[in-house]
Amino acid sequence: MIWQIDTAMLLLVVVVALASLQVKDLLGAGILFGAYSFMMCVLWTVMGAVDVAFTEATVGAGVSTVLFIAAVFRTSRRTKD
């Protein structure tokens, strides 16, 4: 693997994780969490863990995001932090 790409991916993962926690809108937070899961999935593919990456793509980026959006839809998008 190419370590420059690897490092860039790792940093991007951290940035997206922080963004999903800091954004002041829960719907946005849910979608950014989906993006975080997808970044993670790409990272694991790079490391050769294809089965784990596949699961994360379907579970983390797919169903989890839908569940978050459903929960936000049923509650409120407002958040203080």
Binding site: T7, V14, A17, S20, F33, L43, A49, V50
Partner: protein
């Protein structure tokens, strides 16, 4: 310089990123007051640990752990352990991912119930509501 980056830094930087992500998740669970944010923090915490395990399994020069037919040998398979990535951490982490989505489902169900009773997701508002 490049050599240092390649040997010194790359030796452990994957582990550092897992620690940073884990701490971000842990901090969110402790410091955030919104329940959904806490749940997102919990998930980040769990994926960080999965990243750690997947990093254990990584092997330079190894390919994905699916055996391939050796060319021209019918049912002969290439079975040199050095060629394939360690499959065990992947198996363990499949389990951990599924556990994390199960926990997420239950956590969201509980958060929704709490919201239905108190009409807010902010923990401090719920607590002041309860102590009235």
């Amino acid at each position: 310089m490049t050599e240092f980056l390649q040997t010194g830094l790359t030796a452990h930087y994957n582990y550092w990123i897992y620690i940073i992500l884990m701490l971000i998740g842990l901090w969110a669970m402790m410091a955030k007051v919104n329940l959904i944010k806490k749940i997102i923090g919990m998930n980040i915490f769990q994926t960080a640990i999965i990243l750690f395990y997947v990093s254990i399994g990584a092997k330079k020069g190894g390919t994905i752990p699916i055996l391939e037919h050796a060319p021209g040998h019918g049912h002969e398979y290439i079975m040199d352990a050095a060629l394939y990535i360690n499959p065990l951490p992947h198996v363990l982490m499949l389990t951990a991912i599924v556990v994390s989505v199960a926990t997420l489902g239950v956590a969201l169900a509980l958060a929704l119930k709490t919201y239905r009773e108190h009409k807010t997701l902010d923990e401090d508002e719920i607590l002041s509501h309860l102590s009235e």
